[in-house]
Structure formats: structure tokens, C-alpha cells
Symmetry: C2
Subunit: 433 residues, 2 copies
């Protein structure tokens, strides 16, 4: 292949894709097995040109793609893979730095520490914290649970019933006991329900997955401090919004956490995967994770090996894409995008509130609206299936107080007021059919 020629073709494909993604059906209109049945069952004997890969991506894989970059992707948490980050992934794959030791990737190691400090400044976090990057919040929370168990010698994980399922799954993987605690009327963990005598770690959430509710971190921190319990804060989605000072109320008490996760690939416009994990107790992390066999011993004085602070040994150059985005957007660019997403969510919330036959199901925080059509769950479920099947929008659901609830999340940087209006029109028209 000619890397230069094929590379330019790939860039053209990517640029065309980003220009037209809004015209494609956002939810893939295929059935399980459709894509695979169109691909050969065995690998080729001889190599093929890269143009064949690009052609099959276009003709076979694209129809089976749910478009996360689509401006009317409103499901789960809507995200963006921003252009500087996309190009940085090309550059990171070109360098292929593997950062298990400082020596094997000095620039990657030092840039990772630097961008974590940069983001800490942007979000108003303590400057003394140590940050590094994991793949996903599942892993970041897993690491926090491991450090907490190692440090406290206890084996119980506590989180609200609205915490992300990763907390329970991580606990199960580690052989730890998971105890859910009830929430209040606004879906926030009730600190008075905490009994922490034998608890290793409380996972408090700023921006829960179902409703973006905000646990009272400060009150939880009081309880944890009294009981010698580790406090891990999961702000995977909402953490990025703290770049806006007017939203910092949600981080009240976070400065007292032992560890904190914010996913840059959620609302900091970074391509998957890039989960930032800070800790105020780096020595405890190092105690839990450092294991240096002979083949990794080096004589680099003052070197700092990031593999000693988390589960994986091999680490790719994830900081490059986040650095590119922070450079190209700046604090103001991040703020503008987050404020616009919230403005659009407020608009949608207002339309629902004002429309007879519809109801809001939870206080709106950030850019997520939880709502439903008045009436039985089955009608809401059918409504969701119908609007998603249209390919016009993609929304998801949850269950609150036993009821089936629709979720519309805004976070893609290409989403406009027209897109949100189109979603609302589609929902209303489909509901009355």
C-alpha cells in the first residue's frame, strides 16, 4: 500500500462522513447477524489493497452502524468525537507509544500527567491530586474499589440504587459485597441511610446514568470520614460540565473524595476511550497496584511509571487526543459547547412541560431530560420503539419509581435547535398515531 495515498483517501472518507452523518439513519436499521452474513467467513490468503477495506467499510459496515456522531443521537449519554481528537488518534497510532514505564514513553507519561492537571484546573479540583487515564469508567471505578479494599481491609461497596451498574459489576468481579442504598424523591443517595461500619468504599454519583441526579457528596464525605471509609465519586458524565462555574454546585464536597472519575469521552468531546481518574491518595494507589518484576526495573532517577497506579501494564497514548481537544477548544470552547447542550435540554424540557398529555419525570440536571407520555408503560415503550425505528432520532429509556420513562440526552456538538425540535415533533406526532 501507499500510506500517503491511502491516508489521504481515509481522511477524505472521514471528512465526507462527518459532513453527511446527519442524513443517515441514526439507529442502524439491521437485524442481528445481518452484517456478519455479508462478510467472508475466512480471512484472505493474500493481502488486498486498503481501498478494499474502505469500500467494505462504506458498503457493508456503515449500514450496520449506529451513528454516535449523529446530531440526533439522544440515547444514553450523547457524546462527540471531536475533530482534533480524531486526528490525534491517527497520530497516536502512528507513534504507537506503549507507556508501561516512563522510559518506554516519556512524552506519553508526562503529557498524561499534564492533561490530568489541566482538566483538574478546568473543573476546579484540588491541584494536589494525582490523575491518570484508564479506558472506561468501569475500569476507573474498579481501580478505586481495589485501592479502597487494599487500604481499608474491608470488603463492602455501597452506592445508591441509581449508581451506574459498573459499581455493582466491579464489586462482583472483585468478590466484594455490593449494598445498594435507597434514594430520596429526587433520586439522590440518602446519607442518613448509610451504615458504614464494615464498608470499604462508598461510590457517590454526580450525574447518575438514569436521571443525572446528584448525590449530596459533602454529607456523604462527612459519613465516610467518620467511618474511615473510602469515598469514590463517579462523575463520568457530569464532571466535564464543571468547566462552567455556574454548575460547580454539583461538585460541592468532591474535594474531600479519595478518588474521582470523569470520562473525557463522555462530555469532553474526546473519542472513546479516555476515562480520567484522580486520587488524593496516590501512595495508596501505588501500594495497591505496584508490582515491578525484574524485566521492568530501570535506573531512571525520578521516573514515574503510570502502570504502577492502575490495573493494566500496557497503556496507549490516550492523552494525545485530549490534549489536542483542550488546545483546539480552550476553556471557552468547552464552556460554550456545554452551555449550548444545556440550553437545548432546557428548551426541550419546556416543550414537554407545556404540552398536555406529557410529563416530566425528574428534575432536569445538565443536558438530560426524563419524560413520558401520560398513560401506560406499554404505550411509552411502543413509542420509543417506533421513533427509534424511524431512523430519525435515537432515544433510550429507564425506569423511575417503577414507571417506564423516556430519556433524551444532548451532548453531541453538532446538535442544533432544529434537531431537538425535530425530535419533539416526531415524538408528538408518533404518540398520537
Amino acid at each position: 500500500m501507499s500510506f500517503r495515498e491511502d491516508g489521504h483517501a481515509a481522511v477524505e472518507w472521514a471528512a465526507d462522513y462527518l459532513e453527511r452523518v446527519g442524513e443517515l439513519p441514526v439507529l442502524a436499521q439491521v437485524k442481528p447477524g445481518d452484517i456478519r452474513s455479508r462478510l467472508p467467513a475466512s480471512p484472505p490468503e493474500q493481502g488486498e489493497p486498503f481501498s478494499a477495506v474502505l469500500r467494505d467499510l462504506d458498503e457493508i459496515l456503515l449500514p450496520g452502524t449506529t451513528h454516535w456522531q449523529h446530531p440526533r443521537f439522544f440515547a444514553y449519554f450523547s457524546v462527540s468525537s471531536a475533530e482534533p481528537g480524531i486526528l490525534a488518534e491517527l497520530l497516536a497510532a502512528t507513534l504507537n507509544s506503549v507507556g508501561f514505564l516512563w522510559r518506554t514513553a516519556p512524552a506519553s507519561t508526562e503529557l498524561e500527567l499534564l492533561v490530568c492537571d489541566w482538566v483538574a484546573q478546568l473543573l476546579g479540583l484540588p491541584q494536589s491530586w494525582h490523575g491518570h487515564i484508564e479506558d472506561t469508567a468501569s475500569t476507573s471505578t474498579l481501580a478505586a474499589l481495589i485501592a479502597a479494599r487494599h487500604n481499608t481491609g474491608r470488603n463492602v461497596v455501597v452506592a445508591s440504587e441509581h449508581a451506574h451498574s459498573a459499581a455493582e459489576k466491579d464489586a462482583r468481579m472483585l468478590g466484594m459485597e455490593f449494598r445498594p442504598v435507597p434514594t430520596d424523591a429526587e433520586f439522590r443517595l440518602r446519607p442518613d441511610a448509610l451504615e458504614l461500619g464494615d464498608v470499604a468504599v462508598v461510590v457517590a454519583t454526580v450525574g447518575t446514568t438514569s436521571v443525572a441526579s446528584v448525590d449530596p457528596v459533602s454529607a456523604i464525605a462527612d459519613r465516610c470520614a467518620a467511618a474511615g471509609t473510602w469515598l469514590h465519586v463517579d462523575a463520568a458524565y457530569a464532571g466535564s460540565a464543571m468547566v462552567c462555574p455556574e454548575l460547580r454546585w454539583a461538585f460541592d464536597g468532591v474535594e474531600r473524595a479519595d478518588s474521582l472519575v470523569v470520562n473525557a469521552h463522555k462530555w469532553m468531546f474526546t473519542p472513546m476511550d479516555c476515562s480520567l481518574l484522580w486520587t488524593s491518595r496516590p501512595d495508596e494507589f501505588r501500594d495497591a497496584f505496584s508490582l515491578v518484576p525484574e524485566f521492568l526495573r530501570t535506573t531512571d532517577e525520578g521516573a514515574f511509571n503510570l502502570s504502577e497506579y492502575g490495573p493494566a501494564l500496557g497503556r496507549r497514548f490516550r492523552s494525545l487526543k485530549l490534549w489536542a481537544i483542550l488546545r483546539c477548544y480552550g476553556r471557552e470552547g468547552l464552556q460554550a459547547r456545554i452551555r449550548e447542550a444545556i440550553r437545548l435540554a432546557e428548551l426541550f424540557e419546556g416543550w414537554v412541560r407545556d404540552e398536555p398529555g406529557w410529563e416530566l419525570c425528574a428534575p432536569r440536571h445538565f443536558s438530560l431530560v426524563c419524560f413520558r407520555r401520560e398513560g401506560p408503560d406499554e404505550e411509552n415503550e411502543a413509542l420509543l420503539e417506533r421513533v427509534n425505528a424511524s431512523g430519525e432520532i435515537f432515544i433510550s429509556h429507564t425506569r423511575l419509581n417503577g414507571r417506564y420513562v423516556l430519556r433524551l440526552a444532548i451532548g453531541n456538538e453538532r446538535t442544533t435547535e432544529d434537531d431537538v425540535r425535530r425530535a419533539w415533533d416526531l415524538l408528538r406526532h408518533t404518540a398520537v398515531k
Copy 2:
């Protein structure tokens, strides 16, 4: 920014880099803190053009980069990030598919299953196995340990003293007991030393990190079967070599494993990160990892959610780069590259064998040569530091039978006979200084 224009500039940078990487010092010639001190302590307020990122990558980060793509990178296991894979990472970041459910990424989910089947065919693995992709072997082995504990109800992990440190680290993270077992004169796990009554899992290694020794998997499988112990095989490095039928002896018995890890980012020319994990017991994996909260419930009949088979919920489109490489290289292309690396390692081995004052320290398997200068450890350690400081080559070390041993690993697809000759000349000339 103009994505198209900036994208073409990024491709030009990448193409130029790959052309000149062999002329750069392979090991970064910087001290800890050097790179960070050249970067601003705070993020910018306003956005900057992408060209500024590219400039700083070139001027500030590159001098702090240890060049894994360099043809004279002979340390650890030498790897390649091949061109089709690099471009596929650009495309994957453009799509930004997040594959936690089939519905959120049908093409990514089905392609991941397909490429795992393709590689299973290439390596001669049972066609009934279920494969998926994790980030690194640390995570793949972690997942296997979790499945093994879940399935056996036991809490002990056994591996040879030459197994990768990830096995011990994973066990520690999970709160499992790690028991190393001794090896024979050729650094292979001794099946007669296995006592498996209370053992959840044995981690057998095909291609150990220090010396690429091959544990006798078949005999270990006999012991595991008798004791009801899970058998996990770590072939992170050497597994890719099984694409060559003449090397399949090393996989004897692997078909009886419960799980197997092969890192495509090690010797299958794939950019970091891409660790393939197969299991003959997918139901046990699903039992251990499946946890489907309300917000992830879907009605897609026949859908297959890969997040139910491993630790992480969020999953990026890792299969795309491996698919691109398998397409563009084909079986023959992979075989040719692996055979050439082994041929070069054999050459180097012969030079060491024939040279007075030097000794080979272990049987050579695959493309790794373990050797030393006759004499004290300190002289070998000083020799390693001096050749690495030259920027000409990068080698690493281990300790065998208590002695300091040099390792020269070949795996970069750009490495030529001239590069290996240059390494040998440099080692000999530096040793006599």
C-alpha cells in the same frame, strides 16, 4: 479548524514520520520532567489551530518519544503498528462506535466476533471458541481469573515463576492468592510441581516474557482436568506465530484450555491496544460478567452484547484495525513477516554463539534471543546502559538463574538484516571499550 485540511496535514506528518523514524534516536534522550517543563502549566483559554498541536508534537513531544516503530527497537517485545491499522484507528475514531450493546454498535459487535474467528482459523484454534477483544493482556487475564473463580468457587492462582507479572498483579487485585511454581532447566513450568486441590486457575504461558519459553500445556491440561481447575493460556506474544504451521508445536494442548489470550498488538502488527481473549466456555464468562440494568435492556431478538463477556461496559471499535491488517496482509503476509523476524533472530543467535566471550542464556524460541557477555552482571548492565544511551538501539534485560541477561527481541516489520547487524556490531564494540 478545517478537518479536511488538518487531516491531510496529519497524514503527511505521519507518512514523513514513518519514513524517517529509523534515523531518530530509538530511546528518548531526555530526563524525567524534561518534556513537561517545556509545556504550559495551564490549558489555553481560547482555542488554537490544529497546526499548533502538530507543531508542538514535532518540536516538544517527539524528542521525548521512545520510538516503538523504530526498526532497531529490540526491547521487551518489539512490535509494529502497521499502516492499515493506523488508518483504521482514524476511521474508528471518526465513527466513535461505543459497543456496549449490539444495538449501539451492530457492525462493531459483529466484526469483533468475526475477526476473532478469523484469527482462530489462522492460528489453528478450535472453531467453536468464543472470542472478543480487551485492551491488554493484563485485562484479558484478569477476566479469565474472574471467570475461573466464579466457576470453581476457589481462590488460588498458579503460574510459573516466569509467567508475566500480570498474573500475580491480577490475582492481587482480585484478592486471590498467587502461588508461583518452579520451572525446569529450560524455564518451563514443571507439571509435576502442580498441586491443584484448592486451585481455581493455572496460567500457562506460551512464550514467557523473559525468555519466550513454552510451558507444556498438554501435561498441564491433564492436571487441570483431573483437579477441576480452569486452564488459562497466556500466549500474548507468541500466539501470533502460530499462523506458521511449523511453529504449531508450541500450541500443543492449547485446544484443551478454558481461555486463551493473544495480543494482536504484540506480533500481529496491530496498533495498541488489541488483546484477543477466547474461551471454550462462553456461558461461564457470561455468568461471571453479565449484569443488565434497566437502561441497557433492549428488545433486539438474537442480539449479542459483548459487554456481558468482560469487565468493561464501554467498548471502542478495536476490531476495525485488526480487520484492516488481516485484509491488507492476508495469511501469507503475516507468515512472511513472522518468518523473517525469526530468521533475523536466528542470525543474531548464531553470531553470539560463534563469538568468543559471549554466551547464549536460554534456548531461542521465536524471535527473542537471551544472551550476555561472559563476566560479571555489572559489566552487562553497564553495557546495556551504554548501548541504549547511544540512541542506536534499544534492548532490555531480565534475570535468569540469578544472572543479569540481555534480551534482543525482533518484531518490528521494518527491521532488516542490516539493523540486526548494526546492533551486534554496536554491542561488540561497546563491550570491548
